[in-house]
Amino acid sequence: MTRKQKRGVMIGAGVATLALAAILVLFAMKDSIVFFHTPSDIAEKHIPAGQRIRLGGLVADGSVQRGQGTTVTFKVTDTLKDIPVAFTGVLPDLFREGQGVVAEGKLDANGVFVADSVLAKHDENYMPAEVKKSLEERGVKLGNSAHPEGATKP
């Protein structure tokens, strides 16, 4: 091979790999990105049922129904609007009423958010950044008692 050909092979391989990676990234971005919404967003923006989203807010006081089979239901609130959530599986250890939570899943036809993961967080003094920001934008005052943590169902 001449010097020119060798360089051609090198450059060709490099460009081909990068192009392939770029295509993969674009496709994956289109299909697997999940938008974050608060209960008020969902009420305002009319998110269609079946679209994968992340729902964030506080677990509404008195809304958690545990110990009824394997599905736990609760409400996520941003103090303005509530969304009922159903999650099948074992909830995170630090899941408690009044604390921040992020759930990922889809809305069903009845407006119930069917979560397949409840976002994981294992520091007791932590509040997911998105939840905190959204709640602050809506003027909700936060104490230091945010204890979200998580579990996920693959």
């Binding site: 990676a21 971005m29 009824q68 074992v90």
Partner: protein, 660 residues
């Protein structure tokens, strides 16, 4: 008193680092041996001072001195001794202390073992290394001082997050940080090379052992973290593509590329500019990891003790060193002589391919990790990029890399014989396909591509065996010659073989557990049983029990297989005393074929039934055993190189032979 002594040692270390940054650097520019020679004692005393400071902090933890704010915030008198010690680095301030300690340890190691370095090079490397330490020591003293006192001292501390009270996680940070911080040496060498204008094969020979050491520890550190997440978090998963996980994975990918490109540079004097760039980028990714983990800018499941204000300081450090390094690179790279081009079908050709794919995969992980941050900055839209993105981008890039891997070490330098190598690999290809057929027959379900994934891993493993057999002429030479060759094969060769074998084993584990996991979520009452993956798990009830600093409800499951009792699993729900926090403990029955994994959830209202989540994770332990083999391979390779580091170019010939 000991605490004040430690504080003083920390401040003194800062002054020594400042001195070590300036004086040897000036000395190297002026070719003044007296000024350059201070680098060595400075590096060693900086390490000793930081070790004293670290021990002083550890002493405060061990003796539960709650007049120290950091101890009061993160420890508790009833905590078991192991976690009093590991609690030192289980919080922000302490983990930064560990960071600078390891930084100084690497600096001291270069000072002690770098006798073969040219004096100006050594002085410059130690000066750059000290400048990194200086930045982090300033960070600690200005924003994260672990030695601040409380008055009055509280009666007891707040305790350590119970999920961190775990043996694997006690040792995870030291290993991980040794890896992260170890790449600082490659960075310092790269900056020194740019300043000195000296970039040649010898440079690669100096840098490789340090990079290899860092890489080994990062490998085992990440594996320990993954193992911990697997059994402690109770989610049955081992990798979540979480920002904090990615933060450690990106330097690992770039570091792996660096190891391989430095090999080309050492043996063929090529890829020089590229290798220097990689060295700068690898450590930059380590710094970015520290920023992501410490600042909490990205929502992560694993971040502990985040503080955005401190994050900005680390961002500053990162911008300074990455920006400075890249600016210097841009200025000097033009003056460097680019190495020769070479045949695509050759060992160096495959190593270029390796670098191309590893760096591209690093870039995809980087994009996926930072995209939410960028998008939110631009549009205010909040998104998350989850596992599907990474599986779709990272996975396909790994396939050609793994396919090419067995060919690389079998191809000759300069001009390889692809046909000959393919013939040698026939055994590996056939073996891999057979194994895939076995996997298909055994599981007979799951994605149709999964058996090919298993075959890919097996191909890499058998490729390593083939390489070994070829090198010792197994079957082609008389037995005594085979034995002689096997004993004389350099350790660095054995290291490479083992590391590649470990990669293959890990791939088999990853594919197996991802494709064939079995999961059940159900309510079980005492006496009921569940059939899972050939086991019968009978729930026999839940009992309360007390541990050293927690109470727990401990369930028991009798596990039997084919009618005979195998073991009893005892998953539990714990409530720790300090801080009062619940944790879920999994019950795991591990075997070579896979792990039976059970966790319990809520008690059912008004009954003695419990929500139960049970998994069977096939082949999952190969993931961590693969990582362990990679670690051991790195160690064996390093033990070989250490012997050569003392006298690298005594005989040009000997080096070449050893490298074959």
């Amino acid at each position: 008193m000991i605490v004040e002594f430690g504080h003083f040692a920390l401040i003194l270390a800062l002054l020594v680092a400042a001195f070590q940054t300036v004086v040897p650097f000036v000395g190297a520019r002026r070719r003044d041996a007296r000024l350059m020679n201070v680098a060595e004692p400075a590096a060693i005393s900086q390490f000793i001072l930081l070790a004293m400071a670290f021990v002083a902090l550890m002493h405060a933890y061990v003796t539960s001195d709650f007049s120290v704010a950091n101890v009061a915030a993160n420890s508790h008198s009833t905590k078991p001794m192991l976690y009093k010690i590991s609690g030192v680095w289980g919080n922000h301030e302490g983990s930064m202390m560990l960071w600078v300690l390891i930084l100084a340890l690497f600096g001291a190691a270069v000072a002690l073992f770098g006798n073969n370095l040219p004096p100006t090079m050594k002085a410059t490397v130690l000066s750059v290394q000290a400048s990194i330490a200086l930045a982090f020591l300033l960070f600690i003293l200005l924003t994260s001082d672990p030695f601040l006192r409380l008055n009055p001292a509280p009666a007891d501390g707040n305790g350590l997050n119970p999920i961190l009270q775990d043996p694997a996680l006690a040792f995870h940070p030291p290993f991980l940080y040794t890896g992260y911080v170890g790449f600082s040496i490659a960075f310092s060498f790269a900056i020194a090379a740019l300043i000195e204008g000296r970039i040649d094969a010898a440079w690669a020979r100096w840098v490789r052992p340090w990079t290899l050491a860092a890489w080994m520890f990062l490998t085992i550190g990440i594996a320990m973290g993954s193992w911990w997440a697997y059994y402690e978090l109770g989610w049955g998963g081992w990798w979540f593509w979480d920002p904090v996980e990615n933060a450690s994975f990106m330097p690992w990918l770039a570091g792996t590329a660096l190891l391989h490109s430095a090999l080309v540079m050492e043996k063929r004097e090529a890829l020089k500019v590229w290798t220097i760039l990689l060295a700068i980028l690898t450590f930059s990714l380590s710094l970015m990891g520290a920023f992501i983990v410490r600042s909490g800018v990205l929502t992560s499941v694993h971040s502990f003790a985040v503080d955005p204000a401190r994050g900005v300081f680390i961002l500053g450090i990162m911008v300074l060193f990455t920006g400075g390094g890249l600016a210097l690179f841009a200025l000097r790279a033009k003056e460097m002589r680019i190495g020769g081009l070479f045949q695509p079908i050759s060992r160096e050709g495959t190593l270029v391919f390796n670098n191309l794919l590893l760096v591209t995969s690093t870039a995809t992980v980087l994009i996926g990790t930072l995209y939410p941050l960028v998008l939110e900055g631009l549009t205010g839209e909040k998104i998350s990029v989850g596992p599907p993105f990474f599986n779709m981008t990272f996975g396909p890039i790994m396939v050609p890399l793994l396919l090419a891997l067995p060919f690389g070490p079998l191809l000759a330098w300069k001009r390889g014989d692809l046909l000959g190598v393919s013939q040698r690999l026939v055994f590996a290809i056939v073996g891999a396909l057979l194994l895939a057929a076995v996997a298909y027959a055994m599981f007979n379900r799951g994605p149709s591509l999964a058996p090919f994934g298993i075959a890919l891993g097996a191909f890499v493993m058998l490729g390593a065996v083939t390489e070994w057999a070829t090198r010792i002429k197994l079957g082609a030479a008389p037995l005594d010659e085979v034995v002689r060759r096997a004993t004389n094969l350099p350790r660095s060769n054995y290291g490479t073989l083992l590391a590649h074998f470990g990669v293959g084993l890990m791939v088999v584990g990853i594919v197996g557990t991802t494709a064939y996991q079995e999961e059940h979520i159900l309510v079980m009452k005492p006496g009921e049983s569940l059939a899972i993956a050939g086991y019968d798990a009978t729930f026999t009830g839940v009992k309360p029990q007390s541990g050293p600093n927690y109470r727990e409800d401990i369930a028991s499951f009798d596990i039997s297989r084919g009618g005979s009792v195998v073991t009893t699993l005892a998953p539990s729900k714990r409530l720790y005393d300090a801080p009062p926090q619940p944790t879920t403990e999994s019950g795991i029955l591990a075997s070579w074929l896979g792990d039976l994994y059970i966790v319990i959830g809520d008690q059912q209202a008004g009954t003695d039934g419990y929500a139960v989540r049970a998994y069977f994770n096939p082949l999952v332990r190969f993931i961590w055993i693969g990582a362990l083999i990679m670690f051991i391979g790195g160690g064996i390779s390093l033990s070989d190189r250490r012997l050569r580091v003392g006298a690298p170019v005594k005989s040009r010939r000997a080096t070449v032979v050893a490298a074959e």
